[in-house]
Symmetry: C2
DNA sequence: GTATGTGCAAACGGTTTGCAGAAAT
DNA sequence: ATTTCTGCAAACCGTTTGCACATAC
């Protein structure tokens, strides 16, 4: 659990749920609160489930799945697929217009992010050259994060 | 089944299997042949299984899984994860140095490819800025392919 | 009051695995 | 002869679904 919980965000999300004709149940509230209060964490559904249960022990896993799918359809969260078999979800922050990407450490599987509209020029080339209308993109870099690189260096030094 | 079957490729692959200490069974042969003869097709394991069974009806699905995992470890095939729950595999062609990406049509789920080392400059920026050592990357564009766009246009015209 | 949402447990679908027999080296 | 591989069926694991009850509106 990290990141600053923003009452503004919670309002925005619950409002949109309402407007779209969905009921604002305590379960959904709890899930929204939890997922917002852990920005930057890329939670699996199980992880989210565990966190939500701290506040709402009666909640069922299926409800978490259903809510997260719903929120994804509404564009409130975005799904992230690493290569490890379970989907991850994170809040979509309003400020950014779909231009954030992921750095995935293959040692510790930590996920960090980087910003930038670096792809825009590439997209234009593609659209013209291949007559392909781009709606969305996914850019991921796999490699070794700073912490793991440091650790490795330390080990090497000890061996010398 | 499409693409030109290259005897050279088959040799290269079977050779590498041997050298790495793996036995060259008829099952593996059949799988290698099939996957090579369908370059550009991004097969799911089930699809590959169905194709291989045309030549080797006794083969088991588990063998196909095991072979494809093995070949992936050896770098002979690459795994492609779309958002549809099943992994796809394609031959890794020697000519290209990991610089090919995917265009995925969200209408017909056809997958096409595009080449280009467009990411290299971006990678350097990232490596410096975030102290992240990049080993691999994945770039995918989701959208509407040329054929589907045409189809849509046709429908619109009929409605007018 | 009614439509929608929930919890539970069972089903699902892609993938992996344990095992006994088969085959490559 | 020995190690590796195969086919089968069962297990696995993340996810989805059917259902009877509960609840937000």
């Amino acid at each position: 659990m990290q990141g600053k919980l923003s009452g503004e965000d919670i309002k925005r999300v619950t409002e949109l749920l309402r407007k779209s004709g969905y009921k604002l149940t305590p379960q959904r509230q709890a899930i929204v609160d939890t997922i917002i209060s852990s920005v930057g964490n890329h939670l699996t559904v199980e992880e989210l489930y565990a966190l939500v249960r701290l506040k709402k022990p009666e909640i069922g896993l299926a409800t978490v799945y259903r809510t997260v799918i719903l929120m994804n359809e509404l564009g409130l969260v975005s799904r992230l697929d690493l290569k490890d078999g379970s989907a991850r979800y994170e809040m979509t922050r309003i400020e950014e217009n779909h231009t954030h990407h992921h750095l995935i450490c293959t040692r510790c599987s930590r996920v960090s992010e980087f910003m930038g509209d670096l792809l825009e020029p590439i997209e234009h080339v593609i659209e013209e050259k291949y007559n392909f209308i781009i709606k969305d993109h996914s850019l991921k870099f796999y490699g070794i994060c700073e912490e793991c690189a440091k650790e490795e260096k330390l080990k090497e030094e000890k061996l010398v």
